[in-house]
């Protein structure tokens, strides 16, 4: 690497963040793992409850992101107003963000390097499966109510999918007469998917229908008997893909997704830093980070759960969940550019 490249703000921030974030994240992982083992839940199948270990995976990721945010804001003088050395740097860094974007990318790179082993090795130690499968949410028809008056529902898939399991989790309405569980037969491309019917009489019940791998392009639910009307919105019918994906690749993709809260937090720091002093900028950045990690806003919480449950994350639905956060972060960066340009005049 050339001398000029090693003196780039990205590399400086990367080195600084790695130095400050790696050990706390490792310590948090050790503590979280110990707590996860100590508070092992009493359940029938520990493998079925791995999704409940998501808080223990999110803790070291939060610690890493928190360390990176604080380090970057303290390290790069132009991320807050009226910092010592800011005027010198402003003359040297002539870009629209005065090197704040480069500092941000350094922090993101450092966090990615720390999160990669956390999301692969540490997640596997917490029980994340070594393989992942695609979970496709089948889009609901226009009127997704299955009742005696409308005993058939037709679900069309956007494209034919090779699957080997179907999961149904409808919402149940009040019975239309004396309570009798509704029995539903599932048909795939005109043929019955299973020999037995699925029974529902209240919300929250989940029915798994395993079948021999086959390509499915349309599903039909037929009400055979019962008085409980069932509502099947998008998300209540899930088709599990038959092909196995790598758990390692899934972990690496999770590490990428884990950078979104950090990106948004630092983007807001960049925006606030155009006018506010250090304490305000730190409060804004940490607040945004807290809301997007521990608070569960944004795509990370669902992605952590998906990783631990063996859901393949590289899908359009996960990408769709990321779009609002990415847009929010990008808008904050654009706002920061405009504010800084105005203050320069």
């Amino acid at each position: 690497m050339s001398r000029r490249a090693t003196r780039h703000p990205t590399i400086f921030t990367l080195q600084r963040c790695l130095r400050t974030a790696a050990l706390p994240a490792l310590a948090a992982a050790v503590v979280a793992f110990t707590l996860a083992m100590w508070t092992e839940p009493m359940v029938a199948s520990a493998a079925a409850a791995t999704g409940a270990r998501a808080p223990w995976l999110s803790l070291p990721i939060f610690v890493c992101a928190f360390s990176c945010v604080v380090t970057t804001v303290l390290f790069w003088p132009l991320l807050a107003a009226r910092r010592p050395g800011a005027d010198w740097l402003r003359r040297l860094q002539r870009g629209p963000l005065h090197g704040c974007g480069a500092a941000l990318s350094g922090a993101l790179l450092a966090s990615l390097l720390v999160c990669a082993p956390l999301c692969t090795v540490y997640a596997a130690a917490l029980g994340a499966p070594s393989i992942a499968r695609t979970h496709t949410l089948v889009p609901a028809p226009a009127e997704p109510l299955l009742s005696a008056r409308r005993p058939q529902l037709h679900f069309a898939l956007a494209a034919p999918l090779l699957g080997n399991e179907l999961r149904l989790r409808p919402l149940a309405s009040l019975p239309e007469g004396p309570l009798r569980a509704s029995r539903v037969r599932v048909m795939a491309d005109g043929a019955p998917l299973a020999t037995t019917t699925a029974e529902f009489d209240q919300t929250g019940q989940i029915v798994r229908i395993p079948f021999v791998s086959r390509t499915i392009s349309a599903l039909e639910l037929v009400l055979e008997d019962g008085t409980v009307p069932l509502f099947f919105p998008t998300g209540s019918v899930e088709l599990i893909g038959a092909s196995e994906q790598s758990g390692l690749a899934n972990g690496l993709f999770l590490a990428l997704l884990a950078q979104i809260p950090l990106f948004v937090a630092l983007a807001f720091a960049c925006l606030a830093g155009a006018v506010a002093a250090l304490p305000t900028v730190l409060a804004v950045a940490v607040g945004v980070l807290f809301v997007m990690t521990v608070g569960g806003e944004g795509p990370l919480t669902a992605a952590l759960q998906g990783r631990l449950q063996g859901h393949w994350l590289l899908t359009t639905s996960v990408f769709r969940q990321c779009v609002p956060s990415l847009l929010l972060g990008s808008t904050a960066m654009i706002g920061a550019m405009m504010l800084r340009r105005r203050s320069r005049r």
Partner: protein, 258 residues
């Protein structure tokens, strides 16, 4: 500066004195940690619990409930409802016959073991928790009849007797056996709040049977009749509930009867 150091030394002395007087145990430290963590963690724990109910399986829901109740160790109603929900879960509908009964048996054992564990922190509500534990086998068998064959000798009656005997030893007296049926309303409310109508119906069924334990026959008949009316209403049958609305012991269930 000197005043500041004296204040720190005085505070440290007071703290040391307090610790030596109270003699804290590990459980106290745990309670203190959970008290400190509660405000920051509890809202997210509830959100995670709700998310698990929408997208997870029964094991995950129960695991999340345990994380939540680790923060609220003295909330016995919550323990009873979540344990009941887990024990009464319909299980894997692909399973049939003995396999299904064995799974129900395992869930019942786990739920009872967890409630047993919760007794240590239940404090003055331990007796109530024991009464609810005595209720659970009855309800589980009503839900999964194949389970009866897997229970120890004496079946649900022996299991209930075991817990009620402990409650009696703890000072509840013989009235604890009669009380069991009256607990059903609160238990039923908890299950309905959690969206478990089938569980609530199973509780009502067991409470109707248990009303035979009440020695005052007039009270027992009236109570059983009211429970039957609620059961019929939840089953979707047309019912006149005026007698139930006049009975304030059923107040917790009123939102689900209107």
């Amino acid at each position: 500066m000197i005043a500041g150091s004296w204040s720190v030394m005085l505070a440290a002395g007071c703290l040391a004195g307090a610790i030596s007087l109270v003699q804290p145990r590990l459980d106290d430290a745990r309670e203190l940690a959970s008290w400190a963590a509660r405000p920051a963690v509890l809202p997210f724990a509830w959100a995670a619990q709700r998310a698990a109910m929408h997208s997870g399986n029964s094991d995950e829901v129960f695991a999340r409930a345990q994380q939540l109740l680790d923060l609220l160790p003295t909330w016995t109603d919550g323990h009873a409802v979540f344990a009941g929900q887990f024990a009464l879960d319909g299980g894997d509908l692909a399973q049939t016959g003995p396999e299904r009964s064995a799974a129900a048996h395992r869930r019942l054992q786990i739920a009872l073991a967890w409630l047993e564990n919760a007794r240590r922190q239940a404090g003055r509500r331990e007796i109530e928790l024991l009464e609810q534990m005595a209720f659970l086998p009855d309800i589980a068998v009503a839900r999964e009849p194949g389970l009866a064959a897997l229970l120890p000798a004496g079946g649900t009656a022996a299991m209930a007797d075991h817990y009620l005997a402990i409650a009696e030893q703890l000072g509840a007296g013989p009235v604890v056996r009669e009380n069991r049926t009256f607990l059903a309303v609160q238990y039923c409310r908890g299950l309905l709040d959690a969206g478990d109508r089938r569980g609530a119906l199973a509780v009502l069924g067991a409470a109707i049977v248990r009303s035979a334990d009440v020695r005052d026959r007039e009270l027992a008949t009236e109570w059983s009749a009211h429970l039957t009316l609620v059961q019929e209403h939840l089953l979707g049958e047309p019912t006149d509930l005026s007698a139930v609305f006049a009975d304030l012991r059923f107040e917790p269930l009123f939102p689900y009867l209107r």
